[in-house]
Assembly symmetry: C2
């Protein structure tokens, strides 16, 4: 598999690299690491994301080169990284017909095999791990800039090496990346110590709504439109809020109610592992994974909460 | 150095292991890893801490065997782990005279050479790393229980692999420990996902006091005795609170005011690295390190805050 990808890299000249909507650290890190590597090989490389690179990851080399428009150009090869479902690759799906071949590199458990070549390994901690393997298999070194991007990919996708995908390979690679001279604290400072102050102000309000149900098995918090207004925050600042109620001793399921319009709530569920929250979300027309799922409900807050907790009490 | 320690282990029979007051993850993890190893060798081992093992670390094998009393017994060797200053080893300093020799194992930059043998390496990410090296140098394997203890020591002392001591060796060792079959998420769940609910309730109150000074270079939060009463919490639940204001973009120094008695405040300082907060604390008769320091001040909250911020504005 790796050999056939390296062969396509050798024989072709122009490459497009893309990833999923709302790119996370692995999407950005793996894409930029691959872009830097192809550039080092003297290739013509374009990186296209349908959404801008989040502020958080702008410190990465080549982050500024990422385009949201699709250039009017033919490409020999399009790498699609970290994209479980092809439709999540955004505009590319419909607009880009002048591409010789797709190479799909991914570590999701369920991944469409949409590429001409599909390099999929769900045992890899991150898509960045697959890019690392590619560069090493080609016999090349990982330079400082590539190490920054790959390290960001791995630390974010493993939740700072806490999730179960923090496997021996992830640690071995991280150690090698750090040996190139990248500074772990300086990266952590950018990823974890650069929050907008409004986020903490909003967190204070959200945590003040903390409540429990199902005998303490479930903890929930709520963010309302009023709260956004009060601190001058927007919805994207609530990323990760649901991890706070989940982090409480004895809590198996955390629920996050987020008002997106008057009488319309996004409901996010997180599990510590024992409970499959995708089935909870499915009961309300939503979906997701075993440990993370969500749905959208209409009604006032009290109604929505009652619906969810009534179902939860029965289900747990 | 390692060879001489291994020699003492070989020729002696009864061992005491101790660490510093208020033991953290590295203190507990390195002590229990060494205790397990010596027990495997058939030695007579006593682990004595002056404070109980914090709830957080009770999942570690042998945590229940840790004693607070000093047994009426002679010891051939006393291992003192992770103790920068001998006086921090607590009661041992005064009471224990019937000890053949002290072996001092530590990774602090400034460490008294109080042992008969001093194995001190500030390049090691954690004291657990030194215990790991010891076991490996003896030609022995790391078993599952030892891996649990050493992994806890490393993940806690590197701030989940974020601090600058997360070096290539720390990652290499962590990878090897994980390969023994320990579950990274199950450990993280115990260390980071088992907070008392009162801690989050207190955090909500503390974050609601968030304020800024020195043009946003400094952020502070406050916890008062009233707040403890309101949520039924105690002071130890505020561990780590100061990291929240530090995590704000642009903030260089975080300050945490914690009321310990009416008109008496502990003031904790944290730096992102540019500012040396030990000199800030020293100005008020306190002390600490470059990135973490503290002092105690008397007065009402407004007075104490004014004193600190006046000094800060000048110093920054």
């Amino acid at each position: 598999m790796i050999e056939s990808i390296l062969r396509e890299i050798r024989i072709h000249r122009s490459f497009l690299i893309t990833t999923h909507e709302n790119p996370d650290g692995d999407a950005v890190g793996s894409s930029l690491a691959l872009a830097g590597y192809l550039k080092r090989l003297g290739k013509d490389v374009t990186v296209h994301f349908c959404d801008p690179v989040p502020e958080l990851y702008r410190f990465l080399p080549l982050a500024d080169s990422v385009r949201q428009d699709l250039p009017d150009q033919d490409f020999d090869v399009c790498f699609v990284l970290d994209v479980g479902e092809f439709r999540r690759a955004g505009k590319l799906v419909n607009e880009c017909r002048r591409i010789g071949m797709f190479i799909n590199i991914d570590h999701h458990l369920t991944c469409d095999r949409f590429g001409t070549i599909n390099y999929i390994d769900s045992a890899a901690a991150a898509s960045g791990v697959l890019v690392y393997r590619l560069i090493k298999a080609a016999g090349h070194d990982i330079d400082y800039d590539t190490a920054l991007a790959l390290y960001t990919s791995i630390i974010t996708d493993t939740g700072s090496f806490r999730y179960s995908n923090a496997n021996p390979e992830a640690f071995a690679i991280a150690g090698e990346l750090v040996a190139t001279g990248i500074n772990t604290w300086s990266i952590a400072e950018k990823l974890y110590e650069s929050q907008p102050r409004q986020r903490l102000e909003l967190l204070a309000l959200a945590l003040s709504t903390l409540s429990f149900s199902a005998n303490g098995d479930c903890a929930s918090i709520t963010v309302t439109l009023d709260m956004y207004e009060k601190v001058g925050a927007c919805a994207e600042l609530t990323d990760g809020f649901v991890n706070y109620p989940r982090s409480i001793r004895g809590v198996e399921v955390a629920v996050f109610f987020r008002e997106i319009q008057p009488h319309l709530f996004k409901v996010g569920f997180r599990s510590k592992g024992k409970i499959d929250v995708s089935s909870l979300a499915a009961a309300f027309g939503g979906g997701g994974h075993h440990n993370a799922a969500g749905c959208t409900l209409t009604g006032d807050l009290a109604e929505v909460r009652k619906q969810v907790f009534d179902h939860l009490e029965t289900a747990l």
